[in-house]
């Protein structure tokens, strides 16, 4: 166990630094889609929810898991869909006329 803990802390530290560096470079234009994207990504908590919902556990435990699974799936689905919907709208001036309905 201590080995795993140490490894986990290392992963946490490194991922935080990677995150800080990458996010700093994200264009301020895209801060809203960035937020919905990270939201969808952090819904990876779905992994924990699946293990609890699907495991051979008492009913009340699985109910908690199923609600968590529902909440995370909602975030994944709506997060990715709305991010893509927003990003589709960002156009440069030359591309603008192609996409416009006349």
């Amino acid at each position: 166990m201590p080995d795993n803990l140490e490894l986990g802390l290392f992963v946490f530290m490194l991922a935080t630094f990677v995150g800080l560096e990458i996010i700093r470079k994200v264009s301020p234009l895209l801060h809203t889609p960035l937020m919905s994207l990270t939201n969808a990504i952090s819904a990876i908590a779905v992994v924990g929810a699946i293990l609890i919902t699907g495991g051979d556990y008492p009913l009340h435990i699985r109910v908690l898991g199923a609600v968590a699974l529902f909440a995370s799936t909602t975030n994944i689905v709506s997060g990715f869909l709305i991010t893509d919907r927003m990003l589709k709208m960002f156009k440069t001036s030359d591309k603008r006329d192609d996409g416009r309905r006349s």
Partner: protein, 469 residues
């Protein structure tokens, strides 16, 4: 064997997430980021589902189907409602973390109390507290943004508020420490729900003193909390993917919060505990200054004769849904060979990047959306600055008036343009409750009315009267 495959899948998924965020650095590649994110999530879900301990497949299918049923409509909300949706999804994220933590605790206490090592208990309690406080706090934030009637819009403050909040948090931490010491004792499972309740109330109390103008920062902070609760879950489950994804989310929220705070010249603690946004009774200085009003006809004439126009949108534009009319105005001015740029303040609107998304929705090329620091350089050359529903972000008091609550906040220098037109719904002060000196300046002319209606009239003047003046 299975374990190895699962770990490899998680490794690939982590890489996908890092790529996803990397591709967000420019609009040209950003959509790849979404695909990478979807790929990572799908890989992780399939790898987890294939785990041999999973036996109840029906439950998983039903819960995922329900998630789709709610998630798809949630992704189709109007873009003006994106801040609420974002807050709501932070709430869902927090709820999921809180529930998984709760389930893990009760599961292990009966099955494997030996696994509840002090470290794992600390992680578990952190997951639960962060999760539930993000849940209730984000629900409150979403309610405020949606302007649900029974949730007060103005900050709610009372004497000793910060002390009360701190006491509540202190109590929760004290109980947490007690549970961590002896997680398997008979009273611990009874104490656990108390911690959950304290976390839920703390979330609510944290949000009620916060005003609308501070929402961008608060949403970013809640984003960070949701990420950190996923990290804590990763420690509980000993899952490196969760730690990585949560850390990415946490650092993203942190950076956005820092950017927002800098753009308001305020600190985290000040945003969270300062109860900004109350109407300042002292702000009403004795002398009554008067506005100069202009008609849409007059404003249209001046716009027509200019060669460089800067449009400064604010939350008022979002409220009035004026972005499409503004696009028409933009097109008409462009057709006359006038340079038109949009000046975007980082905290304009109710969440980071809010204005950019609305203007992009209206089909305005993102190359004409300029950040504050870049546009301020050009402001003295602007013939017209057209302020559409923005207030505090163009208030020159931030530069000059040391007594102003927004003193020191970087602003868009609208007042340096040759002429300023400010569209404003009413003569009341803005969200922060501060009078705006810009409106009384010599070169400023007010256009009172709903932003959409006023811009519509400008469009009519410019379209109908072209070449007549």
């Amino acid at each position: 064997m299975m374990y190895g495959v699962g770990q490899a899948a998680y490794l690939v998924a982590s890489a996908c997430f890092i790529f996803a965020l990397h591709w967000m650095n420019t609009p040209a590649t950003a959509r790849n980021g979404v695909y990478a994110g979807i790929a990572g999530t799908a890989i992780a879900i399939l790898a987890t589902w294939a785990d041999p301990t999973i036996v109840n497949h029906l439950w998983i299918i039903v819960a995922i189907a329900a998630g789709f049923a709610v998630g798809v409509p949630l992704s189709r909300v109007p873009l003006t409602a994106v801040p609420q949706r974002t807050a709501l999804s932070h709430a869902f994220g927090g709820l999921a973390a809180g529930l998984v933590g709760t389930a893990e605790y009760y599961l292990r206490i009966s099955d494997a109390p030996a696994e509840l090592t002090p470290f794992r208990m600390v992680a578990l309690i952190a997951e639960v507290i962060l999760g539930y406080l993000t849940f209730s706090g984000s629900l409150m934030a979403a309610g405020k943004l949606q302007e649900i009637s029974w949730i007060p819009q103005r900050p709610v403050t009372y004497k000793g508020q910060n002390l009360a909040n701190l006491a509540l948090l202190g109590l929760a931490l004290l109980l947490s420490a007690a549970i961590t010491m002896s997680p398997a004792s008979t009273w611990a499972p009874l104490l656990f729900p108390v911690i959950v309740l304290l976390a839920l109330s703390f979330g609510v109390l944290l949000i009620i003193p916060i005003g609308g103008a501070d929402m961008p920062t608060v949403i970013a902070i809640l984003n960070s909390y949701a990420g950190l609760s996923a990290v804590a879950m990763g420690f509980v489950l000993d899952n490196k993917l969760l730690i990585t994804a949560g850390a990415l989310d946490g650092s993203s929220g942190l950076i956005l919060a820092i950017i927002m705070c800098k753009a308001m010249n305020r600190s985290f603690t000040n945003v969270l505990f300062g109860a900004f946004g109350q109407v300042q009774p002292a702000a009403a200085k004795g002398e009554q200054q008067s506005y100069k009003q202009e008609t849409p006809e007059g404003a249209a004439q001046i716009l027509e004769q200019s060669s460089f126009v800067v449009i400064i949108p604010g939350y008022g534009m979002a409220v009035a849904q004026a972005q499409h009319k503004i696009r028409e105005l933009y097109d008409l001015l462009k057709k006359r060979g006038i340079t038109v740029k949009f000046a975007i303040h980082p905290v304009a609107g109710r969440m980071p990047g809010h204005m950019n998304v609305l203007l992009a929705e209206a089909d305005i090329p993102y190359t004409d959306l300029v950040e504050m620091d870049d546009i301020n350089h050009d402001m003295p050359q602007a013939d017209v600055a057209l302020v559409v529903g923005a207030n505090d972000v163009v208030n020159p008091a931030a530069r000059s008036d040391k007594s102003s609550p927004i003193y020191g906040m970087p602003i868009i220098d609208a007042d340096k343009a040759r002429t300023v037109f400010a569209i404003k719904r009413s003569k009341n002060p803005g969200f922060a409750g501060i009078d705006n000196a810009l409106y009384f300046a010599d070169r400023t002319w007010m256009l009172f009315g709903d932003a959409k209606a006023v811009v519509g009239e400008l469009v009519k003047e410019l379209a109908g009267g072209s070449g007549m003046h």
